[in-house]
């Protein structure tokens, strides 16, 4: 099943603006444009405020987002996408499965840089009703590097002319000015940002400054000879970049099964827990730069992880997650008195093992076994006894990182995270071989019925 990309359109546009991306990405990414209130098919909607728009998108996603999906947007839609994504990763939306974002010339969470004269001029276009054909033409001319082809041009004109004047005003007067940076916060997930070199305030040179602190994992790709209308101007280039991004950064790691996603999204799970699980389910950073270990040490830890916690299917980068844990200073509250503090122990342990680590993967298991059992002949910063002690910590850290992932919980049939809600619900059925009707079938056992229930 291809991964789904939900896209939120720009001011004066509609989901229709992504039709070309949808056609081009047909095999790899299922692109779905969502019309926002006041635009496209929803031009009659009364309330186009940012809050209502975010609620609308959340409701749409709750009805349609399944499996692994991405969210993105163009211009105005980029700001909305950031707000929705932050809700998802905080657990404040009934949504699970967000794996990454695709932003095209996005408006940032902070107030959008916009020339006031231009804002006034654009507001004047709706002073007496919908946008005229002439003003719409002006808008397209100002926002493209080169004229659009006739099909795209026609489609963009149609959307502009049917835009609700109230929605147009709501964005220019309020939505674009709202400072949502605190609410959005920092979103640590794979993000692709496409921007045109000929765009003005939201162009390629401006985007890193606007977004780097919001999306630390953003990959910025400039598009030459491109204005603001990326999906219409550069659909082939954009779709190629999206396909590459998806292959590189989105498809790694396990997917939470649908029935488990529905459970996590549901009201038995507290928002905080949902947020914790959603963050852990975000694909690992392929280009993760270790902070406590060096690259060689991280590589070795990954090879150890493959032996200690062998994962069938798409793997979680538990070694990188352990490095990040060490960088946060998180341990388990104690360490063996013969070992130095965790970061130092990891470096010393890995350097010791590196000296005798075989290049032949088939030979590694025996070397690791000897080290775990305290009979290594490796010589390095840790002697055999300490190496054994450190490996006990490392084994524990690695398996805990694996287990903390919601797909692992689903795999093991553990649904204890779904004890929440208001009033809080725990378990009614505690017996051997039985489960409750809200529990995924994968936990095993049968649902009690009849007299036994």
């Amino acid at each position: 099943m291809p991964v789904t990309l939900f896209l939120l359109h720009a001011l004066g546009s509609s989901g229709q603006e992504f039709q070309r991306l949808r056609d081009l990405l047909d095999d790899t990414v299922d692109v779905r444009g969502i019309d926002l209130p006041g635009f496209g098919s929803l031009a009659e909607a009364r309330d186009s405020s940012l809050e209502t728009t975010v609620d609308h998108v959340v409701a749409h996603l709750a009805a349609h987002a399944r499996g692994r999906w991405m969210l993105g947007g163009h211009s105005m839609g980029g700001k909305v996408a950031g707000l929705v994504a932050s809700r998802v990763l905080r657990g404040d939306a009934p949504l699970v499965g967000l794996a990454g974002m695709v932003l095209m010339a996005p408006s940032p969470p902070r107030p959008e840089p916009m020339d006031e004269e231009r804002r006034e001029r654009m507001l004047s276009w709706v002073a007496e009703g919908t946008i005229s054909e002439q003003d719409a033409e002006t808008f397209l001319k100002q926002n493209t590097a080169e004229p659009l082809d006739p099909g795209a041009h026609e489609s963009a004109l149609t959307d502009l002319r049917r835009t609700s004047p109230d929605a147009w005003r709501a964005w220019l007067e309020t939505g674009s000015r709202v400072d949502a940076s605190a609410e959005v916060g920092t979103l640590d997930l794979p993000v692709l940002v496409l921007a045109g070199t000929e765009d003005a305030d939201l162009g390629a040179s401006a985007q890193p400054g606007l977004l780097a602190s919001v999306y630390p994992r953003a990959r910025f790709i400039p598009l030459d000879d491109t204005g603001h209308m990326i999906p219409l101007e550069r659909a082939p280039e954009a779709s190629e970049a999206i396909a590459r991004f998806v292959a590189d950064e989105i498809l790694s790691g396990p997917v939470v099964p649908d029935d488990w996603s529905a459970l996590i999204a549901g009201d038995r799970v507290d928002p905080r827990v949902r947020g914790i699980l959603n963050l852990r389910a975000v694909p690992d950073d392929r280009g993760y730069a270790p902070s406590v270990l060096d690259l060689a040490q991280l590589t070795l830890l990954r090879e150890i992880a493959d032996l200690v916690v062998p994962q069938n299917g798409p793997a979680i980068d538990i070694a990188a997650r352990v490095d990040a844990q060490l960088a946060r200073g998180e341990g388990d509250g104690w360490r063996n008195a013969d070992l130095p503090p965790d970061p130092e122990a990891y470096r010393a342990g890995l350097d010791t093992l590196a000296a005798s680590w075989p290049t032949d993967p088939a030979a590694r298991e025996d070397v690791l076994r000897a080290a775990i059992e305290g009979r290594t002949d490796a010589e390095g910063p840790l002697d055999a006894a300490r190496l054994k002690l450190w490996l006990e910590d490392a084994r524990n850290d690695l398996v805990r990182q694996w287990l903390a992932h919601p797909a692992s919980m689903a795999h093991l049939g553990y649904d204890g995270f779904a004890t929440g809600g208001s009033p809080m619900r725990g378990y009614v059925e505690l017996r051997l071989g039985r489960r409750e009707d809200w529990e995924p079938a994968g936990v095993g056992g049968s649902i009690a019925t009849g007299d036994a229930a």
């Binding site: 998180e330 360490r335 063996n336 008195a337 775990i372 805990r400 049939g413 004890t419 378990y427 095993g444």
Partner: protein, 516 residues
């Protein structure tokens, strides 16, 4: 706890008592002294946790644990952190398992009985009277009558038996072992707690160790501390005591704590340390006080807590329900014992990360075998013990050069199981294997573990032989008291919290009597 209207004391005032720690050791005494009209400030290193601050997620839930690193050595290094150490208003009672067996009279006089270990310089009947008071104060559920103590009554019906409990019961029945629903400080019907409000009934979520979100599980934060605040005590949270000042007579004059990066001095007429078996001796060793005889940090005790897990055909899913809902006291003095003392037996359900840690550390597993056990975990039921531990001069807490975030040297605890612990463990392991096999387990695994931090500032009649006297008062500094599990002369098999609270009430009475 009504923090908004809490009485507060100025740091320029000299309060009657400063209590360091708000867990099982500090809170009951704080409430008692405040009720008698004393001015009391309880200083707590951790923060306040509202019910909605708690999370069932095991990784994140460690915010209620003492995670600042401790060093653990010896042949059997004991695990700290989530295994036994709390931090927050309520102390370790935020994460405790709420298993509340009463202390056994025989354990309190083990030396007299066996020539091994220590007798407690405490009248067992007196202690048990305090235990009953605590049970009333916090609300304990359990079976009535209690098989090993028929006159005993519990105010609340037992927690619902979960699948591991039923399996262990089956194994016990087959072997003729008596079992019962476990006494647990978990409400099975709602209760209006004085000065706190309604505490809900247990909803069987199984997440006691992550902090109870319905208030069904008793902690000091929903019992003694609200009572203490209502009686006029002040709780100062997120304040780490790192110095104790003496006057010219050598009496405690003030404590110094760091709060929000600022050192604050609080003058006091008396000081009660209630930081538990690690933090209390660490503070005394750091300040160099009450240790002329070199006894501080000695005789660290940890309960043997080996577990046996059996794999069954049907899903057990023991993370559901109160985790230890079955008890047996039949092994408190086994007829064929080749050791002093005995052990309590409990059924076990478990959370996945806790179980994986035990598989890795206690079972030495990794690779395909580890993954296989994890995949089988939902088919596994456990049985575990809490076993007597005799004091040993080799098991000791000392300080190392490395310091924590407050500049206080970290604690290093050396623990090696002695011959008695090993003999008890061997007996218990064989017993537990028999029970699980009789219950129908397809296969079993044994996972080594220890639990609880006890000893290090023991009570003694002979001033050369301990840190505090039989009342809990320092042998050396007359206005310094200790009220926590560090004063236990021996481990006793019962899980410590109920006994710590009972001793805390007793210490409060002794304190008041000494001042009278």
């Amino acid at each position: 706890m009504n923090i908004e209207q809490m009485r507060t004391f100025g740091t320029d005032e000299t309060v009657d008592v400063v209590v360091v720690g708000t867990g099982a050791g500090g809170a009951p005494l704080t409430a008692e002294l405040a009720k008698k009209g004393l001015s009391v400030v309880a200083i707590e290193a951790g923060r306040h946790f509202a019910l909605e601050d708690l999370t069932p997620d095991e990784t994140e839930a460690v915010e209620i644990n003492w995670m600042s690193e401790r060093l653990s050595g010896g042949d059997d290094p004991t695990a700290f952190g989530p295994n036994n150490s709390g931090r927050g208003v309520g102390g370790s009672m935020l994460h405790w398992g709420a298993f509340t067996p009463r202390p056994d009279r025989r354990d309190l006089a083990l030396r007299t009985e066996t020539g091994e270990g220590r007798d407690w310089p405490v009248d067992p009947e007196e202690l048990l009277a305090y235990v009953e008071r605590v049970e009333g104060d916090i609300g304990v559920s359990g079976p009535t009558p209690y098989p090993w103590d028929p006159p005993r009554r519990y105010a609340y019906a037992p927690a619902k038996r979960n699948a591991p409990a039923n399996l262990v019961a089956k194994g016990c029945d087959a072997l003729g072992i008596r079992w019962a629903d476990a006494p647990a400080a978990v409400l099975t019907r709602a209760r209006l707690q004085d000065h706190h409000g309604e505490r809900g009934a247990c909803v069987n979520c199984g997440e006691c160790h992550q902090g109870c979100r319905t208030d069904a599980k008793a902690s000091t934060a929903n019992t003694y501390l609200p009572a203490a605040v209502a009686a006029g005590a002040e709780i100062r949270a997120e304040a780490m005591v790192h110095a104790i000042e003496l006057d010219a007579r050598g009496h405690v004059d003030a404590v110094v704590y760091r709060q929000n990066g600022v050192d604050v001095r609080q003058r006091c007429r008396s000081l009660v340390l209630a930081g538990g078996g690690v933090e209390t001796p660490r503070l005394l060793l750091h300040t160099g006080l009450a240790n002329a005889n070199g006894q501080v940090g000695r005789n660290f005790l940890a309960h043997g807590a080996t577990q046996v897990w059996g794999r069954f055909d049907e899903p057990v899913r023991g993370h559901r329900g109160y985790p230890s809902s079955l008890i047996s006291e039949d092994m408190m003095r086994p007829a064929d014992a080749d050791f002093a003392g005995g052990y309590l037996v409990q059924s076990l359900g478990v959370m996945p990360l806790t179980f994986s840690t035990t598989l890795v550390r206690g079972g030495g597993l990794w690779g395909p075998e580890l993954m296989q056990r994890l995949e089988q975990s939902r088919f596994m039921a456990g049985i575990g013990i809490n076993g007597e531990c005799l004091p040993s001069d080799d098991n000791r807490l000392t300080l190392v050069d490395e310091t924590d975030e407050f500049g206080i040297p970290r604690a290093r605890v050396m623990f090696t199981a002695g011959e008695n612990e090993k003999a008890l463990d061997a007996h218990a392991t064989a017993f537990m294997l028999r029970v699980m096999e009789a219950a129908g387990a397809r296969e079993t695994i044994v996972l080594a573990r220890t639990a609880h931090t006890i000893g290090t500032c023991r009570m003694s009649v002979d001033p050369s032989d301990g840190v505090v006297d039989a009342d809990g008062r320092s042998h050396e500094i007359p206005n310094l008291w200790i009220s926590d599990n560090s004063v236990f002369p021996s481990a006793i098999a019962a899980n410590p919290a109920l006994t710590i609270m009972a001793l805390s009430l007793r210490t409060a009475d002794r304190f008041l009597a000494s001042a009278a």
